[in-house]
Symmetry: C2
Subunit: 252 residues, 2 copies
């Protein structure tokens, strides 16, 4: 059965979109069937694949204006993308419907994408109805973290909201941390890593994604790092992260 994973962290700029795009492509190159959902109205996941023209996307599907199949684009072998769509921002501001407003995505995914191995949901940097929909729809979280203090603060904020969802929905999330934008020489990065190892034992994926200009460049070509610089350190980082993800290989 399909694994649905939210790539989530309400702290901005920690590498959610970069992790979603490049990890998904690395998994697809290893033969996994992967679907990406751009759940951020900014639409940066679509941009990272050169898919900028789509007006309709997951937003329109959740508002029942169209079907999921009609907005699903095959972007690479074994990899399809469901763009954000111009209506996605309206979900954040829905005022009618109470708690059901958080359950829209789960209802759609319950009957779709069953032929896939993985569905990755790239979440926006906020804790509103879009984040709630992602948390209702999934049991597994991939949490990109950058190696700095405010990112650590953000993590404790995220954990508090995850715990609330666990209580209300009576479930327990499997949580994986990914160290992204990691600067291996900075003292602060090492300190942050030590704190994370203490508080999240056996939950930090073994490969660290190092800070590298190429990762900031490749979205401007609509390419992932695996095709922009396949022989680079960063491409190796993501291939190795894909292995860890599949084998649940963590740092000790």
């Amino acid at each position: 059965s399909v694994n649905i994973i939210a790539v989530i962290n309400q702290k901005g700029g920690v590498g959610k979109t970069t992790t979603s795009a490049n990890l998904a492509h690395a998994l697809a190159l290893k033969g996994m069937k992967v679907t990406l959902i751009d759940f951020d109205p900014q639409g940066h996941l679509g941009v990272s694949f050169g898919e900028v023209k789509h007006n309709a996307g997951i937003g329109e599907v959740l508002l029942e204006k169209t079907t999921l199949e009609s907005v699903t684009c095959k972007v690479r072998d074994n990899l399809q993308l469901i763009p954000a769509g111009s209506a996605l921002k309206e979900i954040e501001q829905l005022t009618e419907g109470g708690a059901q407003r958080g359950d829209l995505l789960r209802k759609v995914l319950e009957v779709s994408l069953q032929d896939q191995d993985y569905v990755l949901i790239d979440c926006p940097p906020s804790s509103g109805l879009l984040a709630a929909n992602a948390l209702f729809a999934t049991d597994e979280l991939l949490i990109p973290m950058s190696g700095d203090f405010l990112s650590l603060q953000g993590l404790s904020h995220l954990m508090a909201s995850v715990r609330k969802f666990e209580k209300v929905l009576n479930k327990k999330y499997t949580k994986w941390l990914v160290l992204s934008r990691f600067n291996t020489v900075r003292r602060l990065s090492k300190q942050v890593l030590n704190i994370l190892l203490k508080h999240f034992p056996q939950q930090i994926l073994a490969t660290v994604i190092r800070e590298n200009a190429m990762l900031a460049e490749c979205p401007s070509f609509g390419k992932t790092i695996l095709e922009y610089r396949p022989g680079s350190r960063s491409a190796r980082d993501f291939r190795s992260l894909a292995d860890d993800f599949l084998e649940r290989k963590v740092m000790n």
Copy 2:
């Protein structure tokens, strides 16, 4: 009369909080009377000044649970902070009140802080009711930008929403870009700067804030760069940015 400025960019992690905290302190050290408002429910501006204990803040004031004076904290000479407060996140999800939901902050600031020279509002990475409140309440925008492609994409998204507000509210914002987290050796950073100079002539403040580990470290001590490493390159960057801000000195 008081200048109210929104430090805004819905793209996450571009340096909104870092710019707010350090610029405000640099202005205060030059004798300006400055008030910071932490308008992000994450509360990272408060954390950057070591102010973590406050339960009540601007959120409670907007919901009319308390007064502005009672939540205003003097944090340094000439510098006061209005923390986020635990209720701020509720503003994002207000369902009653229509357009008035966007006007809450303006109404409060209209009758407050008149003795100040500057009020800086640190905005969250989203485009919901909190961003709307900041845009209703101010005529001037300070837009931190990091030197990478997705940040450029984010800027065109921001400009589109700013234009909508200008039309609906029938006003024109003064806009200043600040290059933050700038990596002076990266080719991409220079390319982004050239694109910005073309599209935003006379609107980019002359001083670039360079990427430096110290700026990521100082929030962990509850200090600004001006007091953590007063002799450092980054402290000089912010003192110089404060001069540009006061004199409207831009890049040519």
